[in-house]
């Protein structure tokens, strides 16, 4: 199966063959499984998957089995991007010295979770983006270290319960807002940055395709609901993802050569209460705390609208 060439606009543009085998260890209703499935449909067989430790890594490759039909390399949390850089450099050297893979375009696809990107792997990611390696970096963001038991990470949003930010007298969930990885990537001036969401699969696959076709480093930041960690029902994965976009908690951005664009416009925004109330990790929030998060989201949306130069995300409309 070749990499996708033409743009993904409708469901009929999505290829039918699968590159990612079912029957892996991921939880029931895990969005990361859906993201990996869509990603492998787009990149096809001519991709080398370089994977940092994380949920997907430990669940899809229990030794000696694997769910990946592509060449696959395991790396630790901190050196995903470094390993990907090395693979890419080695491919280039093989092409130059021995002329192998002359007629094929082989892409290195690095995949890591939010812990391996926002916290532990940030230095190697920065190095990869700075050196300009031809690597597509996909981060599936489930907003905590879910695989080791829901510890907070740099991606955990304000007010979320985790096992290391418990709710009690002294602490009311995560005290700090989420780290802005898109801003960090933007500061490296890489050619393609995007945020994607599994509730909008054609949009997500189109972003994967563009990132794959970019010559140079590209980063796709994908929102990935975690059913046990977020305390949501198994079947609500897609529902929660869609609510995140509709409430403005998550904005579908695409930044090509520094030019930002909102790909999924939301003319009427829902209040964040709807998004927070459906998740068990936000159950402790009082009305004031919800209003604080609402103000934070309002400011963020205003900032995005100023940045893209249009009213991409509209005002809150109570129904």
């Amino acid at each position: 199966m070749e990499a996708l060439k033409k743009p993904v606009r409708t469901i009929w543009d999505i290829p039918r063959p699968e590159q990612f085998a079912p029957g892996h260890n991921m939880c029931q209703g895990c969005a990361a499984a859906l993201i990996m499935r869509m990603l492998m449909k787009v990149v096809g067989k001519d991709a080398i998957v370089v994977m940092g430790t994380g949920c997907v890594e430990v669940t899809t490759t229990p030794f000696p089995y694997t769910s990946w039909k592509n060449p696959w390399l395991h790396l630790a949390f901190e050196n995903t991007a470094a390993g990907a850089s090395g693979v890419e450099a080695a491919l280039k050297a093989l092409q130059r010295k021995y002329g192998v893979f002359k007629d094929r375009y082989i892409k290195v696809v690095a995949i890591a979770g939010d812990g391996g990107t926002f916290d532990i792997g940030l230095q190697s990611l920065s190095g990869m983006m700075e050196r300009g390696h031809d690597v597509m970096y996909v981060v599936y963001d489930n907003e905590a270290y879910m695989n080791t038991g829901i510890q907070r990470s740099g991606a955990t949003p304000l007010g979320a319960w985790t096992t290391t930010t418990p709710v009690g007298k002294r602490m009311r969930g995560e005290p700090r807002p989420k780290k802005d990885i898109i801003g960090i990537a933007l500061a490296h001036r890489i050619p393609y940055i995007a945020t994607a969401n599994p509730a909008y699969p054609t949009d997500m696959m189109e972003k994967f395709r563009k990132a794959y076709e970019t010559r140079g480093p590209s980063l796709v930041h994908v929102y990935s609901p975690c059913t046990p960690g977020w305390r949501i029902r198994n079947e609500h994965t897609i529902h929660v993802s869609r609510l995140a976009v509709q409430t403005g908690m998550w904005v579908q951005l695409e930044i090509e050569n520094g030019k930002p664009r909102v790909t999924v416009k939301v003319p009427k925004r829902k209040p964040v209460r709807e998004y927070l109330r459906i998740q068990g990790r936000f159950r402790h929030l009082t009305e004031e705390e919800i209003q604080k998060i609402q103000r934070m989201v309002d400011e963020y949306v205003e900032e995005i609208n100023r940045w893209v130069g249009e009213q991409a995300i509209g005002p809150v409309v109570e129904e």
Binding site: F20, A21, P22, G23, Q28, Y98, V100, T237, I238
Partner: protein, 111 residues
């Protein structure tokens, strides 16, 4: 022919006399065994209500849904679920626009 390729061909010929380009094994379903055992509820299709929109196929995280073209009662495509690996998460039931898919409790002691 370069040195690396000649060395590789010799090595490959020793391992794989049939002459495949490289003796690679490919991933098959079920790296974690039959994950259908995890299921407490199973999604069941009511073909008369299905409109063949492909949304369940699109959103299935486990890629166990295959669309059978023209197999529905009105000639529409209907989902065929592989219960061997379906974990019963219910995402397909949640995204179904016509409620053609329903979650039915799994009988105890079978499977």
């Amino acid at each position: 022919m370069s040195g690396v390729e000649a060395a590789r061909r010799g090595l490959v010929a020793r391992i794989d006399p049939a002459g495949h380009p490289l003796p690679l094994s490919e991933a098959a379903p079920g790296s974690a065994g039959r994950t259908g055992f995890w299921r407490t509820h199973r999604p069941v299709l009511e073909p008369a209500r299905c409109v063949g929109c492909y949304l369940c196929w699109l959103y299935c995280p486990e890629d166990v849904i295959e669309m059978a073209e023209g197999a529905g009662p009105r000639g529409q495509a209907v989902p065929v679920i592989d219960y061997e690996y379906c974990k019963g998460c219910g995402v397909c039931v949640d995204v179904c626009p016509t409620r053609a898919l329903k979650l039915v409790e799994e009988p105890i002691g079978e499977g």
